[in-house]
Subunit: 468 residues, 2 copies
Amino acid sequence: MSALDSLKADLSGLQIEDNPQIVKQKSRDFFWYSPVLKQQLDHVTGDLVVTPKSEAEVIRVLKSCYAHDVPVTVRGAGTGNYGQAMPLSGGVILNLAELNKVKEIRPGVVVAEAGAIISKIDEETRAHSGQELRLHPSTYRTATIGGFIAGGSGGIGSINWGGLRDLGNVIRLRVLTLEAEPRVLEMTGEDLHKVMHAYGTNGVITEVEMPLTAAYDWVDVVVGFDAFMDGVRFADAVGNQDGLLLKELAPISAPLPHDYFLRHQKYIRKDQSVVVCMVAPFAMDAFAAFVGRQPKASILYRSDTVDEDAKKGLPPVYELAWNHTTLRGLRVDPAITYLQVLYPFPNHVEKVRIMTDLLGDEVPAHLEFVRFDGKITCFGLPVVRYTTEERLNEIMRLHEENGCPIFNPHRYTLEEGGMKQTDDVQLAFKREADPKGLLNPGKMIAWEDPNYDYSSDKLFLFPGLKRA
Amino acid sequence: MSALDSLKADLSGLQIEDNPQIVKQKSRDFFWYSPVLKQQLDHVTGDLVVTPKSEAEVIRVLKSCYAHDVPVTVRGAGTGNYGQAMPLSGGVILNLAELNKVKEIRPGVVVAEAGAIISKIDEETRAHSGQELRLHPSTYRTATIGGFIAGGSGGIGSINWGGLRDLGNVIRLRVLTLEAEPRVLEMTGEDLHKVMHAYGTNGVITEVEMPLTAAYDWVDVVVGFDAFMDGVRFADAVGNQDGLLLKELAPISAPLPHDYFLRHQKYIRKDQSVVVCMVAPFAMDAFAAFVGRQPKASILYRSDTVDEDAKKGLPPVYELAWNHTTLRGLRVDPAITYLQVLYPFPNHVEKVRIMTDLLGDEVPAHLEFVRFDGKITCFGLPVVRYTTEERLNEIMRLHEENGCPIFNPHRYTLEEGGMKQTDDVQLAFKREADPKGLLNPGKMIAWEDPNYDYSSDKLFLFPGLKRA
Ligand SMILES: Cc1cc2nc3c(=O)[nH]c(=O)nc-3n(C[C@H](O)[C@H](O)[C@H](O)COP(=O)(O)OP(=O)(O)OC[C@H]3O[C@@H](n4cnc5c(N)ncnc54)[C@H](O)[C@@H]3O)c2cc1C
Ligand SMILES: Cc1cc2nc3c(=O)[nH]c(=O)nc-3n(C[C@H](O)[C@H](O)[C@H](O)COP(=O)(O)OP(=O)(O)OC[C@H]3O[C@@H](n4cnc5c(N)ncnc54)[C@H](O)[C@@H]3O)c2cc1C
């Protein structure tokens, strides 16, 4: 009997899918944003999808995979952009979609199962006590909380709370190891970092405890500018207004807003840059007063005064932001791709100016203002009008030469996507929690090839990647 | 009939007090913190106290005072530190203590009458929907919301929300003018600044609309350090942790904590400096993890683990902070006084070091970390071991020479206490709202003496100040 057959036998009674069509579909994420990853990973597929309904069932899966040496790749909703959830060596897709209960809500805290959809959690916490999560990706309505913690970084709300990596933005994680007898670990404080943003390479998160904040009926606002840099300066100034409560603050350069935001197009001229905002309803007076001080700013759209008919059919503005900007762009022009940049404080505005001057309409800017190490600064998710991989690398090099670090979204490994450094804490924990190296193989270079030379500037090729 | 007799006749049916003893008591605030103000203002008293029960009654008082040319000084709880509420030219003390209803609570918003005690507002918003005000002075349990807006600046919560001056921290004020027919004005947005922190010189606030935030059972924490500067660096680092929700963050230099915080004394060695914190309960794990990273920090006290008996009799730590530090000091050593300093970002930590090195135990440091123009920085309310007014002025000069602006708490005028500049918006509004100049006379130099020379470095002497 093959390992997979033995596994299936072990797991009888669980929800298992092995129709290759469906398995392949559940083996993919949004890796195709990147022309580089698209080429590398398009063929990747797992062997079967298991959808446990309880933590006990997850333990059964892990135990059996350990026994039969079958790789396990955890899947939330598969909305990651770097192939994080793609099973490079095949094996089991552990689909957590049905581990989705909200278990407890109290002041400032929610406990939920890892497969819960983020917006569903907020629906419950709002109804319960007017609370919501601090941070969510723009994939609010599709992504799972566990996938966000294991594979995401920040998003809507980061203008107030920084990123997931920041101490305090996750309270507790319940984690299973992949051992002969899977252990159940409760992680808090300093330990959390072991499994956060580790792409599920060193444990399976089954339950999360997250901080909540006050929920409001956020007002969507689009502010228009003739010159992009005026929008950037405006956003920087608004972000530094301590009494103005915003949840999102993103300058986007012309012509992207007009060309990509099709349903908002009627509000935006082609040559207009915008700043996309979410503002607390009770802050709208103050926000409007602040806009009034800026002769170059005008409010193009605000959801609290537009009539209901006009509003119908418009997406919430958080679905114009973060990687939804890119998604909307890809729908209009499949030839584009994007980058992820940090413009470090305190010279972030000037650095944006330098890079936009340098690259012009080849790399139209999209910024996300956030709190980063206590300061308001900006990330960039610029659109790249893609020509060749060489030119893409050149564009990245230009950013780094100008002091703007790149988080490369065209790489599927933890190290190459981040800062090209081994995360020793995560690696050490993988040794403990996944001694056989079966969890999401190929994503942690430090595990696969401890002597890998990051300075080579080559691309890591995971030897275990099944060939097409 | 004298003006006052006519006034009394007009106001028959209202609650009026003219017992000189009681009137004098209601004519004082905490001006005596300052040895300078104590000497200047000790004799000051109004002529009668009127305590209206409704806005309509306030209007009656204003109308009659206008008719009879009687000065009106609004009084909240009289907890100001600069003689703000003291009637320099006598007249009516308009006591708003009974205008104290909470009128409306909704998500993010409370509407209250101006005389409501701040902690009473929070009691109602907490019970209603788990909300609380963003900011409060350490006089939370005694001060009125109207007095805070008209005479205060910030306090507990400023580490998140900046100060009252920041756009968005007050939503709407309802203001009465002192004219033949008092007008009722609703002010929002840009207009708010006209009457905020104007000491009631240009309008009477009868109703406020304030933003709320989520209420938590804040944990009181005292962190100890052998060296004060280690505490300062710790506070600066904690303040810049975007995911750690704190409400208060105040380093206080040895020997003040041990010498002044008598009821916490058992937790603090005489040579120990402390950082006083209020931490969200669900952030305590992360906070403790962060403290664990600092070899020089140790938690001396935390209210969430101490046993109930030990906790009994301890004041909340917000009553160790802001001007309560000074108050506790004055109780132990009536010879001290204090200053108010800004250590501007980004060199605030270094500036604190320079000033503490320079002044040593003559001016033991007490800092309050706050958000200021979007950055974490610190104010200082250092204790001054007072000798002479000349030396006090010298100490202020030393601060300013070192790039640390002083907000002089030894002056009763708006201009001298702030940045020695006429506030044109407030002055213009006084012309409209108080054409006879009857509201809190003597507090706005620009009104009393438009040609006053601020550079003279002399003290403004209000000619209308009744002699003792
Ligand atoms: C249009 C678009 C917009 C986006 N915007 C944002 C954004 O604003 N911010 C942002 O951070 N990301 C963003 N992303 C990326 C992604 O949507 C988010 O990070 C999302 O939270 C991932 O959740 P998921 O449930 O889809 O995770 P998946 O894609 O299923 O998984 C992500 C990674 O986590 C692992 N994993 C999943 N669940 C678990 C678990 N329970 N235990 C252990 N490992 C697990 C997976 O193996 C995988 O490596 C965006 C993507 C798209 C396509
Ligand atoms: C121990 C101690 C600690 C303190 N801590 C802080 C602190 O942390 N932060 C801070 O900002 N301040 C602080 N203060 C100063 C003071 O307590 C606060 O500013 C407080 O909010 C003032 O409120 P009150 O009701 O006592 O005002 P009052 O002292 O009665 O009045 C203050 C000023 O406002 C005017 N005024 C009052 N009500 C109105 C109204 N309705 N309309 C128009 N004008 C009005 C008065 O005429 C006066 O000029 C402290 C003082 C003490 C003694």
